[in-house]
């Protein structure tokens, strides 16, 4: 219902890494080492605007009490968090408080939401110094109203064990999923309330536009609904409650009636990372049926604390913080030349899709409303 994003909290091990790295970097430079040689908020002189930074975000797990304290220690800026339940919640918060912005920085809008935020003029330009970023991260948007801080591919995940037990092959097309053997065995987070769900829906549109047939994505979604596909509000319900291939089987409320769901292509890698290099879940690589998601930090139009906003963006993109995204936030880093670590088969179980969806962000922004309506009409779901 809420959490539609599969990023995970800093585990103790990783926290130790991040904290020790921060401590090392601090002992060398005494500060961030970028443009901010001095405290952004100096208690002695400046107790003004920049001393409190308000961030609207969803529950991004990399950002813990400790990480925030580290930021405060480096910059003197106190951070207040407004936590919505998902990326859509961030957009809705910004829309609702448009005339009286409450936050200074929006953290966690992705490339399916960003264009809508632009349309409503919700974001402002930043003045942060940005390091060289991975080229994939800058494809959807390369302006200065939003800065990527993590990325990942959204795609189908399948329970290989259940498939082999039932003599079903791993699907190579989306059309296969409308066959009777998949009846009731697929779970999809809703694009209305979940960002992985939204990314995947965009991918299905591209997928069917690439086919020669007349079938549209929404015909397929209607067929899936007829084939008793399970629709959930958030990623958590689809992956944890319904999907049989993930950690969900051990969790409360697990139903375990779906062999296939929408998650990240690197989710099996995360399963392996925590499961001792072993997982029965596999990413399904179908051309155009995966979506390259980039998450952004963006200054709020009408928000204050400009220097603190810039300092926080720079903090997120420091090597110390961003290189650890795969372990602390279960997403790829956006820095150039960083891949997933090989620990416990993390990288091995995380294939990079050969041909992700190619729909551009402008079009997503323009057509999203119609797509969502069509999706609701064809699935009769939330």
């Amino acid at each position: 219902m809420s959490q539609s994003h599969p990023c995970i909290g800093g585990i103790e091990l990783n926290l130790q890494i991040i904290v020790s790295l921060l401590i090392v970097s601090l002992s060398f430079s005494g500060c961030l080492g970028t443009s901010n040689e001095e405290l952004v908020c100096n208690d002695g002189e400046d107790t003004g605007d920049d001393c409190v930074l308000t961030i609207v975000t969803y529950d991004i797990i990399a950002i813990t009490d400790d990480v925030l304290n580290e930021f405060t220690k480096q910059t003197g800026v106190q951070v207040e968090m407004i936590r919505t339940d998902d990326a859509g919640g961030i957009l809705e918060h910004l829309l609702l408080t448009k005339d009286n912005p409450q936050a200074d920085l929006a953290l966690g809008l992705d490339n399916t939401y960003l264009q809508t935020a632009f349309q409503f003029d919700l974001l402002a330009e930043h003045g942060a110094q940005i390091p060289v970023l991975d080229s994939k991260a800058t494809i959807p948007y390369n302006g200065n109203k939003a800065v990527p801080f993590d990325q990942g591919y959204i795609c189908l995940n399948a329970d290989t064990q259940a498939l082999s037990e039932n003599n079903i092959s791993v699907p190579t097309t989306l059309e296969e999923l409308t066959a009777p053997e998949w009846n009731g065995k697929t779970a999809f987070p809703s694009p209305v309330t979940s960002s992985p769900g939204r990314g995947f829906m965009v991918a299905t549109i591209d997928y069917f536009e690439q086919q020669s047939s007349d079938t549209t994505a929404f015909d397929w979604w209607a067929d899936m609904a007829d084939n008793d596909a399970i629709f959930t509000t958030g990623w958590t319900e689809a992956y944890e409650t319904h999907y049989t291939g993930g950690y969900g089987i051990w969790n409360e409320g697990h139903i375990g009636d779906a062999w296939l769901t929408v998650s990240y292509c690197h989710s099996p890698g995360v399963e392996a990372l925590y499961g001792g290099n072993s997982t029965i879940s596999a990413a399904v690589d179908i051309d155009f049926a995966s979506f390259s998601q980039v998450e952004y930090a963006a200054p709020v139009n009408g928000g204050g604390s400009k220097n603190a906003v810039n300092a926080f963006i720079e903090f997120l993109l420091t090597d110390e913080v961003n290189t650890n995204m795969p372990e602390n936030n279960l997403m790829y880093s956006v820095l150039e030349g960083k891949d997933l670590p090989e620990t416990n088969g993390y990288r091995y179980h995380s294939p990079v899709p050969s041909q992700p969806s190619t729909i551009e962000m402008d079009r997503i922004g323009q057509e999203m409303d119609d797509w969502l309506k069509d999706w609701r009409d064809s699935t009769n779901s939330i």
Binding site: M1, S2, Q3, H5, P6, I8, G9, G10, I11, E12, L15, D59, I61, I63, T64, D65, D66, L68, E80, M81, I82, R83, T84, D85, G88, E92, H93, L95, L96, T97, N100, Q102, F120, T193, T232, T236, E237, E240, T241, Y247, I249, W250, N251, E252, G253, H254, I255, G256, D257, V270, E271, L273, Y274, G275, G276, L330, R376, T379, S381, I382
Partner: protein, 575 residues
């Protein structure tokens, strides 16, 4: 005359506090949707889940209330008819679920049903479509019937106290001579005819009230539905999820429409149920003479073996979810070798906040500040309103008194999510700067608790013999002195119950806080539990940390509850 105008001040403040946010929110939603609240009700079916949510809310609430009675009535009967050694302990243990924060209840039931949990280990798995549950699902054609059973059980668990508190004292105080004389009449020859012609007429208003309140609480269930039956929707849960997009111009107006229609319809249904409950309770208060409990109990004698077994099961039922939750916080699954280990790591992480923006300790501090502030506001305001109503009643202004009394009950028909949305949209309209105020959650919490405080204090004021006040006046004490030296001490137990109830309610409040959280940083313990549970749980400690956080919340609530129980006079029913 001046006194009369002073009297109306608290009533106006109260109604203002309750109604202004709601009216402003309605106005905004009407503005966004271009529809009136009543027209919006008829748009509910346009939402893909609107009709389903309405039906499900209704049916599960009816079933939950029925199950509550089915479990609660035998227990109330056994407890009320017999002498029990540790009666106060049994009563307290059975009332405990009612003050348990719903998120804690949800965690408790999840822990009870999970893989490797107590229920699964005795061979019942409510989560999968296997065995008995599979058969049930096939037979009824309802998917995941195990989830529905879990939800109904959780609702019955939560509402059990209503039956115990409403019906048990009634059974315990009916004079034995009534029953004795009916036995001698032809009409009372058999157990069945005695039940039909004697017990049912005697108990029906109490049973009816317990049923209605169980219905109301189940109808507006949010945290329990959210976690125990994630595929199913009550109106409350649907409004909570869609509420994020409500009140925004030119953006997903269907969400605003759903919230407007859903809130109106839910308000009407709750008002109707409350009106009926109020009517029954009033009828009950014009009741026959009662005898002291111990007298009636002595006549009926000690408990039979059957009764003992039944009550023992009830106690197990009341305490099991909480026990398994505690267990889940220290029993940790090793992901690498699929075994379990005992550890307090989860408690360490919860208290230090290694996984979250705030630590459980900080969230607890927030929760306590809000709870105390909520208590102060709701007790002061509630007392002022109750004493104004009482003054109107004793001043011969009966009609005005009834009017104000009814108005004061209106906010009881507001659910947590409705209040949360009301404050969110209302504050946005009149005073957006309030979003930066640390104390904002006090407003919805006080909105939700003050009506209950009035319900507790008003009967206490009514039963307060006016001759105490008059005597103190004849002894020369001013009104203020009489308030301090006579009223407060005489109402101490009711005041303590009201205060503790508002603290406990505020500590456990989930719906309104969950909505409001979208506009400010107000992390409370229940929200922290929810935040942790909503996370991906690849990491094996996430869920035990949630359980540990819920356990902290449970313990704080219990300490309060024990305090209240010490002050509670056992009166004839009610909260």
């Amino acid at each position: 005359m001046s006194l009369r105008s002073i009297r109306s001040v608290p009533i106006l403040v109260y109604l203002g506090l309750m109604l202004i946010p709601i009216v402003l929110a309605l106005q905004r939603l009407m503005d966004v949707t271009g529809k009136s609240p009543f027209a919006a009700i008829f748009s509910l079916p346009d939402h893909p889940l609107g009709t389903e949510a309405l039906y499900f809310s209704f049916i599960q609430a009816l079933l939950s209330a029925g199950l509550t009675l089915a479990i609660g009535l035998p227990i109330a009967w056994w407890l009320g008819r017999h002498q029990w050694k540790h009666l106060n302990f049994i009563r307290a243990a059975l009332t405990l679920p009612f003050v348990t924060p719903t998120i804690v209840a949800a965690m408790g039931f999840l822990a009870l049903f999970k893989t490797g949990g107590p229920i699964e280990s005795i061979g019942i798995d409510l989560r999968f479509e296997t065995g008995l549950i599979g058969w049930l699902s096939d037979a009824t054609g309802i998917e995941n019937s195990g989830h529905i059973i879990a939800l109904l059980l959780a609702h019955a668990w939560f509402n059990l106290a209503l039956v115990i508190r409403f019906v048990e004292p009634k059974i315990a105080t009916i004079p034995p001579r009534f029953e004795e004389s009916i036995r001698l009449l032809p009409i009372g020859k058999t157990r069945f005819s005695r039940a039909r012609y004697f017990w049912w007429p005697m108990l029906r208003t109490s049973i009816g009230s317990a049923f209605l309140f169980a219905f109301i609480f189940s109808f507006t269930s949010f945290a329990l539905v959210r976690w125990l039956a994630p595929d199913l929707w009550t109106l409350e849960a649907l409004m909570a999820v869609e509420g994020g997009a409500a009140g925004i111009h030119n953006y997903r107006t269907e969400a605003s429409l759903l919230v407007l229609g859903g809130a109106t319809l839910q308000g009407i249904i709750l008002l109707f149920a409350l009106g009926l409950a109020g009517y029954w309770q009033q009828k009950q208060s014009i009741s026959n003479d009662i005898v002291s409990e111990s007298f009636a109990r002595k006549t009926a004698g000690g408990a039979s073996l059957f009764a003992r077994i039944g009550v023992s099961f009830a106690l197990l039922f009341a305490l099991a979810p909480l026990g398994s939750m505690l267990l889940s916080s220290v029993r940790i699954r090793d992901r690498t070798n699929e075994s379990y280990r005992w550890s307090t790591e989860a408690w360490d992480i919860a208290l230090t906040g290694d996984l979250t923006y705030v630590s459980a300790a900080d969230a607890l501090a927030n929760s306590i500040v809000y709870a105390i502030a909520c208590m102060v506001v709701s007790v002061l305001l509630g007392y002022a309103v109750a004493s104004s109503i009482h003054a109107l009643e004793s001043g011969g202004k009966k009609k005005t008194a009834i009017m104000v009394d009814l108005l004061s009950m209106l906010p009881l028909a507001l659910s947590g999510v409705m209040v949360g949305l009301g404050v969110l949209l209302g504050v946005l309209k009149v005073w957006p700067e309030l979003f930066q105020w640390y104390g904002l959650p006090i407003i919805p919490h006080a909105m939700l608790t003050t009506p209950f405080v009035i319900r507790i204090l008003l009967p206490a004021l009514r039963s307060l013999d006016s001759s105490y006040d008059e005597t103190a006046a004849m002894l020369g004490h001013s009104q203020f002195q009489r308030f301090l030296k006579v009223r407060i001490p005489l109402m101490k137990s009711s005041l303590v119950v009201a205060a503790t109830l508002s603290i406990a309610f505020s500590l456990g409040e989930f719906g309104a806080s969950w909505i409001l959280l979208r506009s400010g940083s107000w992390d409370t313990l229940p929200i922290l539990v929810d935040q942790l549970m909503a996370r991906p749980k690849y990491f094996e400690l996430v869920e035990p940390v949630a359980m540990a956080t819920a356990s902290i919340l449970m313990m704080v609530t219990f300490v309060l509850f024990i305090i209240t129980e010490r002050f509670r006079e056992h009166q004839g029913g009610g909260f």
